[in-house]
Assembly symmetry: C2
Amino acid sequence: MTNDIKKVFRNNGKSFTGLRSSLLDILGAASSPLSPKEIRDSFSLNKPDLASIYRNLSLMESLGIVDCVDLGEGFKRYEISRPESHRHHVICRSCGKIEDVHECGLQEMEKKIFRTTGFKTEKHRLEFFGVCAVCRK
Amino acid sequence: MTNDIKKVFRNNGKSFTGLRSSLLDILGAASSPLSPKEIRDSFSLNKPDLASIYRNLSLMESLGIVDCVDLGEGFKRYEISRPESHRHHVICRSCGKIEDVHECGLQEMEKKIFRTTGFKTEKHRLEFFGVCAVCRK
DNA sequence: GGGCAAATTGCAAATGATTTGCATTTATGC
DNA sequence: GCATAAATGCAAATCATTTGCAATTTGCCC
């Protein structure tokens, strides 16, 4: 599977570097989307420059390898793209925990938008904010 | 109706200033959410300082008078809050036009999230990206 | 309407995320 | 291995947003 990823880079004239490999490892191991700073902090040694992290996240986003998640915090987060399981998030305003929401019931809504306005949706962004089960106790 | 708005300010110990009145006029006349800069550009004369615009948008958001919309452009947009018609947006990647989507079929999804995870949602953010009817021609 | 205290504004400087230029280093094709 | 193109680190720039503070405006009482 790493090979499939390598091909994506190769097929687009990009190298599969040590940094890129590490970034993917870190994002792959994360249980919720990470910010560029959090990603940098995940390196114990030889922390890469933030500029390189930003450049790589942009690149990998354009290659469809990672997805950008904006929770309105003033910075962006990134997660591994898993097209087979389109994801949204729920964010707890009390503890800040971010959980995934796997299913997405928006197809019906997208169809309706198309029928009524002619707008052809290609992607959407959906995040929920509230209080998680633990914090509600 | 302006009086109702005035009361919101007064009841929270805030003045209803000329700037605040103008900001509400501008946002009220806009057909899609505006950025702080766009708002400033709407003034022909005596353009207010961006800092004041930012301060007032934050204030009015906390008072529930305006809503913040983040389309992932790297800055925020604001629109008059109309609780009676909860809105989302569709953004055309070709011409940049932003249209409203009035109905929202997410209650079912929020119920399901609550049933399965115990997460109590309080609000959500939903935007669609794609191509509008005009640009598809 | 005038006067005062509190709230608001403008301006300049600070902050924080993200981007860019460029010299150095690393990866790829031969 | 070598030459070349791509990637990285570092410093400086950029852009949205925030903050401190002095000057101005507003709300309120007379």
